[in-house]
């Protein structure tokens, strides 16, 4: 019982301090999203009319319907040819970025029998990053397994599929800014949590506040819980501001209230996890400047490989492999699906939420453990 009230008291303190420095905190938090969205978002390539060649080897009504679905999408420029070898040659010459081969097995509902084979090159990453989800979503309407094969400098194969409602898909406007705005959310959450959680703990230790808390009869876990709580509130605020900046700059976010609600949940879970990471690091690193550098070293790569600014499909294969253990990858999967398509299959949502929740729970637990045993001794 006292754990809750103690946590709340310390949470109140954190929030009062936050409010007291509101201006500095807000400026610091919006500067990154502002630079990224306004600057990079506007110089990024638009993928209107991404050139795609479709080879129809199935020639059944479903395959024709699939092709017309693709043609209906403003952001893809679809041409059909009959010879697969010619198409792959065009891909190699860089005339096109993607070849979609509709296999004779189309439509296939069997897990290991692909109905569609996608070949793509990595030369225009933003194109493939956009087009691939659109293609697999369109294919999912026919309950198909898509197999994509990267013909670029580094080969990778990402089979993906699932039931995707095709209507929602077309609501998304496919430019880089739209892509970026979703990826900014995990970034502000992670950097906000790493920086805020860590620096406040180190400065509280240096100034003697931690000692002052330790001599009161509170449960030590309250110090951790209050910071996770305040970190989440602050992260939510930052995430909302990032989205707002994006929207004001003209980015479109598909979906409505549900999109925002799910993004908020993702932001809170991520913040819980990363505030815990920050507190663990800060309990080992005694100096603010060292911590500030170290948190960047941890945060930046995690963000880069998570598909935050470039699609995971476009990463070199060794980084793509590392991105599997990056919780931000899963957060981005959810947020991207929502902001670009306005829709995410329930099982996909559950799986990805589950993974980031597991990450958060593990680190909250570790953090509580570290604090239980820590003393003020160096």
């Amino acid at each position: 019982m006292s754990l809750l009230t103690d946590s709340f008291t310390l949470f109140k303190r954190e929030m009062l301090i936050f409010r007291s420095n509101l201006k500095v905190n807000l400026i610091r938090s919006i500067i990154f999203p502002l630079v990224f969205i306004v600057f990079f978002g506007n110089i990024g390539t638009s993928i209107n009319n991404a050139p795609i060649v479709v080879v129809n080897s199935a020639n059944n009504p479903q395959s024709l319907s699939f092709i017309s679905d693709l043609q209906a999408n403003n952001y893809l420029s679809i041409s059909t040819i009959t010879d697969e070898a010619t198409a792959l040659g065009m891909l190699q010459n860089g005339k096109i970025q993607i070849v979609v081969v509709i296999l004779p097995t189309f439509p296939s509902s069997k897990q290991n029998v692909p109905g569609i084979q996608v070949y793509y090159s990595n030369t225009q990453q933003s194109v493939t990053g956009f087009a691939l989800p659109i293609i697999s979503a369109a294919a999912a309407k026919f309950d198909n397994n898509v197999q994509s094969v990267n013909k670029g400098p580094s080969a990778s194969s990402n089979p993906s599929g699932g039931q995707v409602a095709s209507n929602a898909l077309y609501a998304a406007n496919g430019n880089y800014k739209d892509f970026l705005v979703g990826g900014i959310v995990p970034m502000v959450v992670v950097f906000g949590s790493l920086f805020g959680g860590g620096i406040s703990l180190i400065s509280d230790r240096q100034l003697g506040n931690l000692k002052a808390f330790f001599i009161t009869p509170i449960n030590r876990s309250a110090i951790v819980l209050s910071r996770i709580l305040s970190g989440s509130v602050v992260a939510l605020l930052y995430a909302f501001l990032a989205l707002l900046i994006g929207v004001l700059d003209g980015a479109q976010i598909a979906g409505g209230f549900e999109t925002i609600a799910v993004i908020a949940i993702v932001a809170v879970i991520l913040s819980c996890g990363f505030t815990s990471v920050a507190l663990i690091l800060a309990s080992k690193i005694k100096r603010v400047d060292a911590y500030a550098i170290f948190s960047q070293v941890v945060g930046l790569p995690l963000w880069f490989i998570s598909g935050g600014i470039i699609p995971v499909q476009s990463l070199p294969s060794f980084l793509a492999a590392v991105s599997v253990v990056d919780p931000l990858t899963y957060a981005n999967t959810i947020i991207r699906a929502l902001t670009l398509q306005g829709f995410i299959a329930f099982d996909v949502l559950l799986l990805n939420l589950g993974i980031i929740s597991l990450f958060a729970i593990v680190f909250i637990f570790l953090c509580l453990k570290v604090f239980k045993s820590s003393s003020t001794e160096e």
Binding site: D6, I17, S20, V24, I199, S203, T216, V288, S375
Partner: protein, 338 residues
């Protein structure tokens, strides 16, 4: 009821190979003001941190109000207030908020009682008009007063003050002394550490002199002054450092005294009744030998003399390194960032 507020028995505290506190024992009676006097690095703060459970002791035993701190850590926390050596009021919060947070952390309830105590505390600290002002804007003295009442918000029976007046000006210092005496007269047992002999002299019922983690002497002020004998202290300061040895030689051979040299200062104990004769003979001897002095004096023993005799150093030589305070101001700049 236990007779002693705090009993420390054979306390040893090591940091790795370094022994910061090396087997100290003493008992603090309920209701007294007890002083821990010692130069920088003597082990004062370490001793306090162990009593508060902030550091684990290496060996020894400590009881607070008769309760072993190893077993009753939580109960004891409610009974002890601490004002730390560094001022730790939260600059981004108002005076009221600073007090409120700690009243809540000490589980002072209900809210009505909390508010009552905060109002009282602000009045006591003469900060009623500044209740809604951010503590960061306060002067050093105001912050220190706020911290004193903050450390008393749970109404503890024991109050530990770690160098309560270091860095305060004379006016704030005397003011702080007044507050400490008032609290003590209300029945609060007070333990204070200090580097200032004058402070220990003015405030403390009993004093333990601690150096290099060991207790050098313990007793009332007058008991301690007897350490340097019943006589008067002769103090000669040479104009040139090099002459100190010569002065010491004269005192030894002509007056059969046992002088001590500290850079340019030579001190010796002179028996009562011999003060004037010694003084005038010394001046003649010195002018004969053409030794120039910048001052000579004869005074009653002070704690400073006791300290010098016991630790071989004057507390005035003990200087604070400014690193920590520079660090502090840097931290304050960054701290609001969350």
């Amino acid at each position: 009821m236990a007779e002693y507020a705090i009993e420390i028995d054979g306390l040893v505290k090591k940091f790795g190979d370094f022994t910061a506190v090396n087997g100290i024992s003493f008992k603090i009676k309920k209701g007294e003001i007890f002083g821990l006097l010692g130069p920088n690095g003597a082990g004062k703060t370490t001793t306090i941190n162990v009593v508060l459970g902030l550091l684990k002791l290496t060996s020894g035993k400590i009881t607070v109000n008769g309760l072993d701190i190893k077993k009753y850590g939580e109960e004891i926390k409610q009974r002890i207030g601490l004002m730390t050596q560094e001022t730790v009021v939260e600059g981004d919060l108002t005076a009221w908020e600073n007090l409120e947070i700690f009243a809540e952390l000490y589980h002072v309830s209900p809210a009505g009682e909390r508010n009552k105590r905060i109002v009282e505390a602000l009045k006591e600290a003469e900060l009623t008009d500044f209740a809604k002002k951010k503590a960061g804007t306060f002067s050093g003295g105001m912050k220190r007063r706020l911290e004193l009442v903050k450390s008393m918000i749970q109404h503890p029976s024991i109050l530990i003050l770690d160098e309560p007046t270091t860095g305060l000006d004379i006016q704030n210092r005397t003011n702080m002394w007044k507050h400490i005496k008032e609290l003590n007269s209300l029945g609060v047992t007070i333990i204070l550490t200090t580097q200032y002999l004058e402070e220990a002299d003015v405030l403390c019922d009993r004093i333990a002199i601690i150096d290099h983690g060991k207790i050098k002497a313990i007793g009332t002020v007058s008991e301690l002054k007897k350490v340097v004998g019943t006589g008067r202290i002769l103090e000669v300061i040479a104009e040139n450092h090099g002459d100190a040895a010569a002065i010491s030689g004269i005192l030894k051979t002509h007056f059969k005294l046992k002088p001590e040299i500290k850079v340019d200062k030579v001190t010796a104990i002179v028996e009562i009744g011999h003060e004037e004769k010694t003084m005038s003979k010394l001046l003649i001897e010195l002018s004969k030998k053409r030794i120039k002095i910048s001052s000579v004096s004869m005074h009653m023993p002070t704690l400073d003399d006791v300290f010098m005799a016991l630790t071989g150093a004057s507390t005035r030589d003990a200087t604070h390194d400014d690193n920590s305070s520079r660090m502090d101001s840097m931290m304050r700049g960054m701290r609001g960032m969350r």
